[in-house]
Assembly symmetry: C2
Homo-oligomer: 334 residues x 2
DNA sequence: TGAGAGTGTCGAAGCGCTTCGACGACCGGC
DNA sequence: GCCGGTCGTCGAAGCGCTTCGACACTCTCA
């Protein structure tokens, strides 16, 4: 079974056809008679043939591999990243592509390397910052790329993400419908805002705009991720704003701490304070009480990124910007 | 800069040498005079040459890519996985290799495919189960592989992992030193034990054995991951065992809930109950109070796995089993 | 001083695949 | 009955690299 490696010419010999015929059977790029096709396919499975990826890449100038570039930085929402990665791999396989994993350790050099060496045909980049060093490089690269997230100036790029502004607004809207009049957003740690990570800012903007639109009062605060800091933030917030009755939490790591803090401050959810989170579904479900939330659609985003990059590989035009609409899942916390 | 792709023969022409000379400069497989080497290297950087990965793989029968196989199942410790993955990528780069990401969706077919097509030279598998379907396949594969985790019968395989039994024992030992006489282990969710995931079992075994060795009484319980379930478990545990004063938590997702539950039950940490966790450092640091813990040495394990797989690629013998000794970091919770 | 042993470099033969042009065989239309 | 078109298949030319054997030198040491 796992004997010597079988080549296309052995398949051709076994099937009694030319090497090129086998190739055309596999690629479907020329018409082949049903009879010949069957003979070839039989030989392929009889011999256990697998095309050699290197040879194929060399001859066709296509490696059928895409790069997935993950920045593995501090303060990141790692589990979400993983779900993105998984979705990208699964989607890529559906297009008969594999995924090469690149971390940011190597900086832009890694991207340049895999592109220049033809190791990959295209790139998908995750967790893009507003001012991302990788962006200028992508513009000059021949290989198509898609970003998950939006840099400050996305001109000439293809980007896809959850519409965080709409997500922030959706949370406000929901709390407004429930009759809350003073609410707060607990967002990412301040370091994330300082770094200029797009999604954090965009959620805040959507939140603030929706506050206005619905005539509510409120405030948007950064939120650290240790229990003690979260506790203080929540305590001070409730002290400063006695009328506050709704909370939007956009910080996966802090969400549990926020609930624990409220518990300790004797505020009952949702009776005293209603809580909406923007976070992965499993976190929302596991909380006590289970949280009304806007889930992060990692699967959809990953799938869409791959679809877009494949379109670009085919030379087809794609929209520069794809924003996925937020869903609101209502649970026990509002 | 990102103009047409530069080939080795253009470099050779530019440097005034033969193609093979350029190749030998790059690989170091034959001696080259210092002068020629310099000329060639200058031409390489002048032209911006990057060897074509496909051509290289075809000619050398080495793709310089290793596969990282991640099962992306429910109930997994995803952030830890990510750190493993990151460590593997970084370590692989140090050996001039890239990493192809494979998920378990494709089952064993994916492994077979990338191996047979020579897309990868070797494999690293993560989160191995006691009875892992992938294991028999690895045995018959020509490509070397290394497992992170231990299957039930590791004969003929190369495995590396944290020594979870020693980690469980180390926690007990620490609590014994602090004078605790009755302690409990809160482990993985029961579904993880039922699936037969090695590390959960091994921690429990180490815990139980150390209990005996130190003459302590105690119990090992599975632990679910929602706050309410954790709360009940902890409450019942304290009710059943009034003498209990130490807790070992080997469940990253539940660790925060355990502390919140203790807080709510008016047990102070470490005054009333001491807590030791087996979990990633960032989780232990972020908790309140910061937890004494045995960290999961993801970086070391990943690096070691890559080192082993590279050794095997070179044809050198490697130990079948590598267990990394646990470290105990003392913080405020004991 | 000449045989023998390195050194440093070259040319050419593949590696396994895709793709292009060519070419019979067969078809229908006049 | 001949011509132009398809259809199905083949052969050969690469793709860009590694590696093997050959070979021209330059040193040593007898």
């Amino acid at each position: 079974m796992t004997g010597r490696t079988v080549t296309i010419s052995e398949v051709a010999k076994h099937a009694g056809v030319a090497v090129s015929t086998v190739s055309y059977v596999l690629s479907g790029k020329r018409t082949i008679s049903a009879d010949t096709r069957r003979r070839v396919l039989d030989s392929i499975s009889a011999l256990g043939y697998h095309p050699n990826a290197g040879a194929r890449a060399l001859a066709s100038k296509r490696s059928n591999v895409i790069a997935l570039v993950l920045p593995l930085r501090a303060g990141m929402h790692v589990p979400v990243l993983m779900r993105f990665a998984s979705a990208v791999v699964t989607a890529a396989r559906r297009f008969d592509h594999d995924v090469l994993l690149l971390t940011a350790d190597e900086g832009t050099a890694g991207i340049r390397r895999v592109a220049a060496s033809a190791l990959v045909d295209a790139l998908v980049l995750m967790d893009v910052e507003l001012d991302d060093r990788r962006v200028p490089l992508l513009r000059e690269l021949a290989e198509p790329s898609v970003l998950i997230g939006f840099p400050a100036s996305p001109a000439g790029l293809t980007c896809v993400d959850l519409d965080f502004a709409a997500a922030g607004a959706r949370c406000v809207e929901h709390l407004a419908e429930r009759g809350h009049e003073e609410i707060a957003l607990l967002g990412a740690p301040s370091v994330v805002y300082e770094r200029g990570t797009g999604f954090a800012d965009r959620t805040r903007e959507g939140f603030v705009a929706a506050l206005d639109a619905h005539g509510l009062t409120g405030v948007a605060l950064p939120c650290e991720e240790t229990f003690d800091e979260v506790y203080e933030t929540v305590r001070d917030l409730l002290l400063d704003r006695p009328g506050l009755s709704g909370l939007v939490v956009h910080n996966e790591a802090a969400v549990g701490h926020v609930l624990a803090a409220l518990r300790q401050l004797d505020r009952r959810v949702p009776h005293d304070v209603a809580v909406v989170a923007i976070c992965p579904d499993d976190v929302a479900e596991r909380a006590s009480p289970p949280l009304t939330s806007v889930p992060i659609p990692a699967e959809e985003v990953g799938r869409e990124a791959v679809r877009l990059v494949m379109e670009k590989l085919e030379g087809r035009p794609v929209p520069a910007s794809t924003l996925l609409g937020p869903l609101l899942v209502i649970r026990a916390s509002t």
